[in-house]
């Protein structure tokens, strides 16, 4: 739902790194997007195309790598990888706990790298 402000930040960060490295054209930006966020990949690209017009990133493609959801068991510390739809059925495979998990990954968005010249 908030693809627009997130996309603005992606563009700002990409342009900052391009300037720092003396680059003239950005071809692609690789993002890692947590599976717990509600960002829709196609909308990110759609807004990016709109916001980046007349910048050196206007033809850049967004490459989106999903960041998996990882939980830690509050009882025994075991790390469990899961999918969003399975969250409510999770029990710890090590100690059997069925609540009190903390989210270790899957909620962030990062710019990993970009291709540019």
């Amino acid at each position: 739902m908030h693809e627009l402000p997130v996309t603005e930040k992606i563009l700002t960060i990409a342009l900052k790194h391009a300037e720092r490295n003396g680059l003239k054209t950005i071809y692609s930006i690789t993002l890692q997007v947590g599976r717990l966020t509600d960002l829709q990949d196609e909308w990110l690209q759609h807004y990016f195309n709109y916001l980046s017009r007349d910048t050196i990133a206007q033809d850049a493609r967004l490459i989106i790598i999903p960041e998996p959801i990882k939980l830690q068991c509050g009882e025994c510390g075991t790390i469990i990888e899961t999918k969003k739809r399975d969250l409510q059925d999770i029990t710890c495979p090590h100690c059997g706990a069925d609540g009190g998990f903390s989210i270790m990954s899957g909620r962030g968005y990062y710019i990993e790298e970009m291709e540019a010249e």
């Binding site: 739902m1 409510q88 009190g100 998990f101 909620r107 990062y110 710019i111």
Partner: protein, 225 residues
């Protein structure tokens, strides 16, 4: 593309600058002994009614204000101002959540040296406010009984980040109007948030409000000492 195309390692979080601002704001408000509380919910869960109940019970103890986020109206700020609580209206102009710079705009119009408690009434939705730190010391969510006990299944991130969950409109429970299961809801919430405090209450009848305000009073004493 030519040979001069380079791969630039960026490794920067899109949230990093907001998170830094949030930490700075928390430190600043800790120093000025002001507890900032971020209230989140769906539209109609009862954010404004709960704030009116809360501020009317605490008004003799604390100096309080409310920062109101609203996409494009001032209805809530007017209700609060009418009750005698200072209310700052932010018009988010279509934004679906508040971040630290927007909260800061509201704080700029308030005297934080004098205020003990400041409530943020975040934009009414369960998706976006879950992902953006406001700089508040406490995150509180309101879920109202008519919304149903399945909401933790749909919005896990929101339920996982809150310090407290208020179940509002409990006067619906035990009537033919709802099959809301409080125990099941609690189990679903604790799946990803073992330490959350849950306060079933009714802003309309006043039932359960004291337990919530007692908790808040303890949190304020701890934060503002």
């Amino acid at each position: 593309m030519t040979d001069s195309v380079k791969l630039i390692k960026v490794r920067e979080s899109i949230q990093a600058d907001n998170e830094q601002h949030a930490q700075d704001l928390r430190q600043k408000l800790k120093a000025s002994k002001t507890l900032l509380i971020n209230i989140m919910s769906s539209p109609g869960a009862g954010k404004t009614s709960l704030l009116l109940q809360t501020t009317s019970r605490l008004k003799d103890e604390y100096s309080m204000a409310v920062i109101e986020a609203d996409i494009d109206s001032t209805v809530d700020a007017e209700r609060l101002a009418h009750s005698g609580v200072e209310a700052i209206q932010l018009r988010t102009g279509g934004f679906c959540h508040l971040d630290v710079p927007m909260v800061q705009q509201g704080l700029d119009s308030l005297d934080t040296d004098v205020l003990d408690l400041i409530f943020i009434e975040n934009v009414g939705n369960l998706v976006c406010p879950a992902e953006f730190d406001t700089g508040a010391a406490l995150d509180v969510m309101i879920l109202s009984v008519p919304e149903g006990d399945d909401k933790p299944l749909k919005y896990p991130l929101m339920f996982s980040k809150c310090d407290a969950l208020i179940i509002n409109k409990i006067d619906y429970l035990g009537t033919s109007l709802t099959d809301f299961d409080l125990k099941l809801l609690e189990k679903r919430v604790r799946k990803l948030n073992g330490g959350i405090r849950i306060f079933p209450l009714s802003s309309r009848t006043g039932e359960g409000i004291d337990i919530w305000t007692d908790w808040l009073t303890n949190k304020a004493a701890d934060h503002n000492k």
